[in-house]
């Protein structure tokens, strides 16, 4: 792998940038892999990367039906934070946060991780009580978290309407300074490039149409384009399509797939240098480095696999943003799209073994899994390598929906992002 550096940039400038190496190979699939990862989103690619890097398992393929990062990874609004309420979730997301903090160096790829802070607004007394509780829980878990009052919020976001005359006055917020945003595509590409360099085969345009199970154990996958590919272990990391893959394995998951939409505005001059989220008015917004406002809100209520949603959802989202930022009312929206999120009843992911031996699932991240990408890949790789779930992943097994040990993060997950 050609390492990127300032010196390299100068060197390549001399030959007009015509001799950059391709950032990954495009190999033909082998007949057999030690591990197959189904799904080339951020989580699948991170899993492959850590399998190779931390566990020396390099006979690995990532099989992706479209292009790398073309699912929710490339469609999300890139908010990264770790201020979750319950210990299990807080530990998992904070594990990811620590990896984010060194990720660009680790991958030798700039993922543009920007710790610009995230505000979760409170608009009534109960919101503020919940915020206090969550902030205290965060601090006990060693996660940076503060409660701000109205004035504290106004100082950070001078353009937001924090006056008492609004319909839903801003009474305060939780504030996580280490939170922020990252560049979604770069995360997928960075993991892909680094995994490829260690020998992982990235197989694009290849759809898994069946999981091959013999004597209760997985032995490979059937693909539409390249026939059967055998494997010792298989990890499915296919977000909104997890239920479809589970059906191929002969079991069900407690997931429902919903469209989740986002929009970006025309680029404008810098106006917002942090991330603002509100569960109550139900919307969130940040500004990308290009200058566009990145906006999102809730899922469409019905089940859907169509990677698009309904107009009423867009309207409600923008109403929320204009309620918070009247100054944005005449900004034009440039693009709108949808992804398919795999929502779980307790708003927490599933990292689990399955009824099929050597078949593992990493899914259920729903509306908020981008922030967990490196952590999810890290613990899932360890689980695949050892055949036992990593301690940080163990509380998130499918069993919890039968034992009742749910990890209810609806409060901290809040507005879908």
């Amino acid at each position: 792998m050609q390492r990127y550096s300032g010196f390299g940039l100068v060197k390549h400038a001399l030959d007009h940038h015509e001799n950059w190496q391709r950032i990954w190979r495009n190999p033909k699939p082998k007949d057999h892999y030690d591990v197959i990862i189904v799904g080339g989103g951020g989580h699948g690619l991170a899993t492959a990367y850590y399998l190779a890097k931390e566990h020396g398992i390099t006979n690995v393929a990532v099989i992706e039906k479209g292009f790398l990062g073309g699912g929710n990874t490339g469609r999300n609004t890139t908010i990264v934070r770790s201020n979750y309420l319950w210990d299990e979730a807080a530990h998992l997301y904070e594990h990811a946060m620590k990896l984010w903090e060194g990720l660009s160096q680790d991958l030798n790829y700039n993922v543009m991780f920007s710790q610009r802070g995230v505000l979760n607004l409170g608009h009534n007394l109960q919101d503020m009580r919940d915020i206090q509780r969550r902030v205290n829980a965060n601090r006990l878990n060693g996660i940076d978290s503060e409660v701000l009052d109205t004035q504290g919020v106004q100082e950070i976001v001078p353009h937001m309407d924090c006056s008492p005359n609004t319909r839903y006055p801003v009474l305060g917020a939780s504030w996580q300074p280490r939170a922020g945003v990252a560049r979604h595509d770069a995360v997928a590409w960075g993991f892909a490039r680094a995994a490829d360099a260690m020998g992982v085969d990235l197989i694009q345009q290849t759809e898994v149409v069946d999981l091959i199970v013999e004597d209760g154990g997985i032995v490979g996958v059937e693909t539409k384009q390249h026939g059967t590919i055998k494997a010792g272990k298989v990890g499915c990391v296919v977000a909104g399509n997890s239920g479809v893959l589970a059906k191929m394995g002969g079991f069900r998951l407690p997931l429902e797939s919903h469209p989740l939409q986002a929009l970006v505005s025309e680029p404008i001059k810098p106006i917002l240098d942090t991330v603002v989220m509100s569960n109550a008015v139900h919307g969130y917004v940040s500004q990308s480095d290009k200058g566009d406002l990145v906006i999102g809100a809730g899922i469409d209520g019905y089940n859907g696999y169509g990677q698009r949603g309904s107009y009423p959802t867009i309207e409600h989202t923008l109403q929320a943003i204009v309620e918070l930022f009247p100054i944005f009312s005449r900004v034009r929206m440039n693009r709108q799209w949808g992804g398919i999120v795999d929502t779980c009843p307790d708003a927490c992911p599933i990292l689990s073994k399955t009824p099929v031996e050597n078949l593992f699932f990493n899914c259920g991240w729903g509306t908020g899994g981008f922030k967990a990408t490196p952590g999810s890949g890290h613990v899932f790789a360890a689980s695949l390598a050892k055949g036992e779930m990593h301690p940080l992943a163990a509380p998130f097994s499918i069993d919890r929906f039968h034992t009742g040990a749910l990890v209810d993060e609806h409060g901290a997950a809040g507005v879908a992002h």
Partner: protein, 95 residues
């Protein structure tokens, strides 16, 4: 925007008047005290979530406020039929 026919109002109305309420025809276990944890968990949390035809419940929240059922395709979002509670669909669902 979906255009939904309410079988009680007998009219097409805009999606905004309705709320989706999840999979239809889920029977509560007849004897909850004697179900296993597996049966009870399945009943509470596990859904078909098909990629294809789906039977689901909707409520006409800003209209007659009645619940009814819909057969809808979850990829094209096309609605094939709507029918009252207690009635059976004419179109099968993908499991």
């Amino acid at each position: 925007m979906l255009h939904i026919y309410c079988p009680y109002c007998e009219e097409h109305r805009e999606e905004e008047e309705f709320h989706a309420k999840g999979e239809a025809h889920i029977a509560r276990p007849a004897d909850p005290d004697n179900t296993t944890d597996t049966e009870w968990g399945d009943y509470l949390y596990f859904r078909k979530n098909p990629r294809g035809l789906h039977h689901e419940m909707w409520v006409h929240a800003l209209g007659c406020r009645k619940f009814f059922n819909v057969t809808r395709h979850t990829v094209t979002y096309e609605i094939l039929e709507t029918y009252k509670m207690g009635e059976q669909p004419t179109q099968g669902a993908d499991a």
